[in-house]
């Protein structure tokens, strides 16, 4: 089946992002297709590459990025959520003269149209917040 996953919550502050990651990993293991990851609201913090996590703790942002790259997943950070939270790709960082990108390159900054497209092209949309 084709799944899309929407993540509304920042890592660490709640468990939701961790649950979403386990769900995503598991559905891929089972041979399902992950059509799209969509990070929305505080969820965009999952794509931040500026984070420094203690060695004995899980680095959720890095794990997301690894999963996305390994399985070539289409991963979208909602642009309006991302800008006001300082999660920027190279293009946005340069446009606003804010130095280098703060988002992992494995995710793309785009609009809510990608969420609606995901709903149209997926058998299941599962929300984690």
């Amino acid at each position: 089946m084709k799944f899309s996953i929407v993540i509304y919550a920042a890592p660490y502050s709640t468990e939701s992002a961790a649950t979403a990651l386990r769900f995503a990993e598991t559905l891929i293991q089972q041979g399902h297709v992950l059509y799209r990851l969509f990070f929305f609201g505080d969820g965009v913090h999952n794509a931040s590459k500026l984070t420094v996590v203690a060695q004995d703790e899980i680095n959720l942002q890095l794990q997301w990025s690894k999963l996305i790259e390994e399985h070539d997943i289409d991963s979208v950070i909602c642009v309006s959520s991302a800008l006001r939270r300082g999660v920027l790709d190279q293009t946005e960082a340069e446009r606003h003269e804010l130095g280098t990108a703060s988002a992992y390159e494995s995710s793309e900054v785009a609009g809510l149209g990608q969420l609606i497209d995901a709903a149209l092209h997926s058998d299941r949309v599962v929300n984690f917040g």
Partner: protein, 96 residues
């Protein structure tokens, strides 16, 4: 058209009450994260109609040490089964 509802907060939230207002008889509820604290409290479960199947996520119960306190009516499942249930039902509605 049956639906899998997930609930991720403790009974101190009103999530289960909200869900129960709009649930259909052939739907199922999966308790995840802090939602697993519903699984041993008698306070809310009686008002769930008998036909609604109840599940709880094992990983979250293990973390919170609530597995042994979980009522028989709740089927304990892992994330793999969570994915399967998402397929078996027509859609997933998340309450958070």
């Amino acid at each position: 058209m049956s639906c899998l509802h997930t609930i991720n907060r403790s009974p101190d939230s009103k999530l289960l009450e909200s869900c129960l207002k709009v649930i259909n008889a052939d739907d199922a509820i999966l308790f995840i994260e802090d939602g697993v604290y519903h699984c041993f409290s008698l306070s809310n479960l009686p008002s769930i109609i008998e036909t609604v199947k109840l599940y709880g996520l094992r990983e979250d119960m293990l973390a919170r040490a609530t597995l042994s306190k979980t009522m028989d009516r709740v089927e304990v499942i892992d994330t793999a089964r969570f994915v399967e249930l998402s397929c078996e039902h027509d859609k997933v509605v998340s309450w958070f």
